[in-house]
Symmetry: C2
Subunit: 221 residues, 2 copies
DNA sequence: GTTTGACCAGATTTCGTATTTAGTCATATG
DNA sequence: CATATGACTAAATACGAAATCTGGTCAAAC
């Protein structure tokens, strides 16, 4: 087996297997052997990529998270108006709802993620939160966000709103959170011109943030 | 023991005991005997008031909920401006945070409420939701609420926001949800005059709603 | 150099037993 | 005679020992 190239491919195959089983059986009931068998590798091979079970499954979730943000970046690249907070929220909200593993992460679905949840939040949240606050500050600096409160405070309120919607049963329509976020956090008038200006920087910001996550994933390849 | 009067008093005493123990030890670990002993009654006496363990503890939570709404009603009576959605939310949010049992109910604290949680939501939510939508419709009819979406839809969004804030860790300051709700759901200008007009009807609405809950509680007396 | 599965310690599940508890009701009490 | 009680029972829960399973390692195979 040629070394470098197929190694990454094998890692992906293992993640695919883990992802599939995680979704079907949940963290608690999915064993490393199950994953190895489904990925057509020996059990020991899994440990050549990740140092233990937990890291493997966290990688599954990290990959899913990276993919969702890559989707988001593509959406903003395709349409600069998607850089607007309300529109971005709508896209990302729908995106998360369409990815059962992320949805489980937000809805605190203990059955599928089990003891992985706390570890997950400890690992992913801080960096993403940071990037998100930067994004808000970028908006604020361009009159695309309410300026009467610090971005960091609006971020707290925003996270609460997002969590509230994602935790809904059933989660409300994406249009409703878009509308709510628009009123709650955007200024009365949002300049399309300004939006076109910041869009590339938004893309850069999220691309950079996601690059770090990518790096971490690739360590396993 | 004179019948009617002291019977209610005894019921309250039992609820006090149950409440105390529920908070300290959680539903799963609190036995009827513990409650009876702490309330200075025989075990059988508890069953003269409630038909089973679950009903007893649901009554504890119902009473807490009733009390919180009574607080709210008093606040609106004392200050008609508190009938405004953002202000009402701020008061009720702080109220819930200050009542550990209600807080546990919203934060899905499985440890203290355990298997009681699903039953609780099934029992309390429908009626309160109904009253809340009426309240929103009352506001909408007086230009005290955004009119570009049906009240029922705003109610869904509002519940998501409230749940998101209450589920926060730690829950954000009351002022932040007030601000968020004001922007998200209120019209740009809120007429103080109109507010004074509707306040009594808001009081009546919630009083009536809570009266039903009271009735249910008193059945046990 | 790379992959693997047999292996082992520790975790988890199982299953039978002991204990606890919800709910009842015959009796005690005032 | 109406009310309150705690002894009682069936059912649930907790416990513990034995059996099973699984994460992680590593010597052997390739």
């Amino acid at each position: 087996m040629p070394p470098a190239e197929d190694r990454a491919e094998r890692a992906e195959r293992i993640l695919d297997a883990a992802s599939e089983l995680l979704l079907r059986a949940g963290y608690r009931r999915t064993t490393i052997e199950d994953v190895a068998e489904r990925a057509d590798v020996g059990k020991g091979t899994v440990y050549l990529h990740w140092k233990n079970r937990e890291e493997l499954f966290l990688a599954v979730l990290l990959r899913e998270s990276v993919r969702s943000i890559e989707d988001l970046v593509r959406a903003v690249e395709a349409d600069p108006l998607a850089a607007r907070l309300s529109r971005l929220t709508e896209i990302q909200y729908a995106n998360v709802l369409g990815r059962p593993l992320l949805r489980a992460g937000y809805a605190d679905n203990a059955d599928t993620l089990g003891k992985l949840l706390p570890k997950l939040h400890a690992k992913l949240d801080p960096r993403h939160d940071e990037a998100f606050v930067e994004y808000l500050e970028l908006l604020a600096g361009n009159d695309l966000l309410r300026a009467d409160r610090p971005a960091r405070e609006l971020a707290v309120a925003y996270q609460a709103v997002l969590h509230g919607f994602l935790g809904g049963n059933p989660p409300p329509e994406p249009a409703l959170i878009a509308d709510t976020v628009a009123h709650a956090f955007e200024p009365v008038a949002v300049s399309t011109m300004r939006l076109r200006e910041v869009a590339p920087r938004v893309v850069a910001l999220f691309t950079e943030s996601v690059a770090l996550d990518r790096k971490q994933l690739e360590r396993a390849y």
